[in-house]
């Protein structure tokens, strides 16, 4: 009852406000918004690739018997996890103010390649660096948790077969760690999708930047915020479905049989409704004898 009253009040507030849904509809499929959504997805994908790749490397380093490696990894995680992403993106975007030129040279020679930082570090690259390097710190901890979740007997069995450390990691430990790594990585990806909005500070034309750009002209601020939110919501929903199937893939071997997917369940339900109408119901087609469907497990 209380819920209904509150819900009613909320609906009433929106209904009497000057929010215009027609404006939302008008901009939802605006070319600029669509393009910005693509940039958001692209940025999410690249930042996650950088984050996962570097994260695996950092996790393996952190667990290495080599003290220097473990220490470098610890320091990286400490730094990148301890400062805000927004600040990191802002830093990369303004790197040209302290390093106007980047150069790569061969030591003890005069051969050198030089480029202006301004042309090299585009807004998009600044965002990729900021988001990706920050994400790597979090992914490193997720991957590390996955690696230590694998029974040590697995490593021993592989070593006893003569497999080298890198091979043991790649073929035996990491595939099993995936079951633990994938669910939080899905979370991280969905989180990244929304965190890309921070790239607006580096003038990347992603969803948040573009919706702000448009509303700066037409003052339909809330309408455009809703447009952006709907796109964020739609994209994260798609990612959730991806996550489900990826998790299923890596569950092989850990359970005896996989439960059916919602789609398989729906199909089975429809199939059964279609094949087996209740006896004596009028749904039975007249004249045609009803045959039980051939089941693979009927033992015939």
């Amino acid at each position: 009852m209380v819920v209904l009253i509150v819900l009613g009040a909320v609906v009433d507030t929106f209904a009497t406000s000057s929010l215009r849904w027609s404006v939302v509809g008008q901009y939802l499929f605006d070319a600029r918004i669509l393009q910005a959504a693509v940039v958001t997805l692209y940025l999410t994908a690249i930042a996650m690739v950088v984050g996962v790749g570097l994260g695996i490397l950092l996790a393996v380093m952190r667990l290495s018997p080599n003290r220097v490696m473990a220490w470098v990894s610890w320091l990286y995680i400490w730094f990148f996890r301890g400062t805000p992403v927004l600040v990191q993106i802002f830093f990369w975007w303004n790197i040209n103010t302290i390093l106007p030129y980047l150069s790569i040279g061969i030591p003890f020679t005069h051969v050198m390649v030089q480029a202006s930082t301004n042309t090299l570090v585009t807004p998009l690259l600044a965002a990729i660096l900021g988001l990706g390097l920050n994400e790597a710190a979090y992914m490193a901890e997720i991957v590390r948790a996955g690696i230590i979740s694998v029974d040590h007997g697995q490593t021993e069995a592989a070593q006893a077969l003569g497999m080298r450390r890198s091979l043991v990691m790649r073929r035996i430990v990491l595939p099993q760690a995936m079951r633990v790594i994938v669910p939080p990585t899905g979370n991280e990806t969905i989180s990244m999708l929304k965190t890309t909005s921070l790239a607006s500070i580096a003038t990347v034309h992603e969803l948040f930047f573009v919706q702000q750009d448009i509303s700066n002209f037409n003052y339909k601020i809330i309408e455009l915020v809703i447009v952006a939110s709907l796109w964020y919501l739609a994209m994260s929903s798609v990612l959730t479905v991806f996550q489900y199937y990826i998790e299923r893939h890596f569950a092989r071997g850990s359970v005896r049989g996989l439960p059916p997917t919602p789609i398989q369940r729906l199909r089975r339900m429809l199939f059964q409704f279609h094949a087996a109408p209740p006896f004596g119901s009028a749904a039975e087609p007249d004249g045609e004898p009803w045959l039980p469907p051939a089941m693979p497990h009927s033992g015939m």
């Binding site: 069995a157 006893a160 077969l161 497999m163 080298r164 091979l167 099993q176 092989r252 005896r256």
Partner: protein, 254 residues
Amino acid sequence: MATPMVRAEAVHKSFGRNQVLRGIDIEVAPREVMCIIGPSGSGKSTFLRCINHLEKIDAGRLWVDGELVGYREHGGRLHELPDREVCHKRSEIGMVFQGFNLFPHMTALENVLEAPVRVKREPVAAATERGRALLDRVGLGDRLDAHPRQLSGGQQQRVAIARALAMQPKLMLFDEPTSALDPELVGDVLNVMRDLAHEGMTMIVVTHEMGFAREVGDSLVFMDSGAIVEAGSPRDVIGNPQQQRTKDFLSKVL
């Protein structure tokens, strides 16, 4: 006389302050089956793990087929070998664990193929043919595509034996291979091991199966608190123990 397959000389090993091995001397001839018995915590598993360098030894010398394990001697001092060479040595020594340790994300056949294909770089087709034959030999020719979790403990352990044999080792180490099994599954695993012994495989078996030790073993070693208390032929050690500690232990397990 041929070089012994395994020779240990005053092998010491400590975990922190806990001295686990206090000078083990042993010699295992090629084609010999040696069983090691003893109460838990006596260091028998640790010693087995030293033989393929899963554990580092603190003092003493350990040779497999005439070569030092995990180290090279230079100027009277031992230097640990690089990972690559340790791995090469391990690839010649098969090991079977109490907890099977099959790779759960691979089928039975994939478990058997992994090391020959990835470590020895055998062609997949040839390795597959041999892998099938090995699984057939341990009685699992019809479960090639089963994942470990779909197999019983006894079946898993037999896959683990096939996996170790796939590397064509010159020595097999068994670390309590039947201790985690239901009683009715023990027999199948012991049968596979018995056949292996009859084919002339050199084996060191840490076990509680006195029947197996007596029937299959060529020699028997009784260990207690990190030292060898008594060693000899199984008939003598079990039938006529000389040491009081051996008698006490045997009276509890027989």
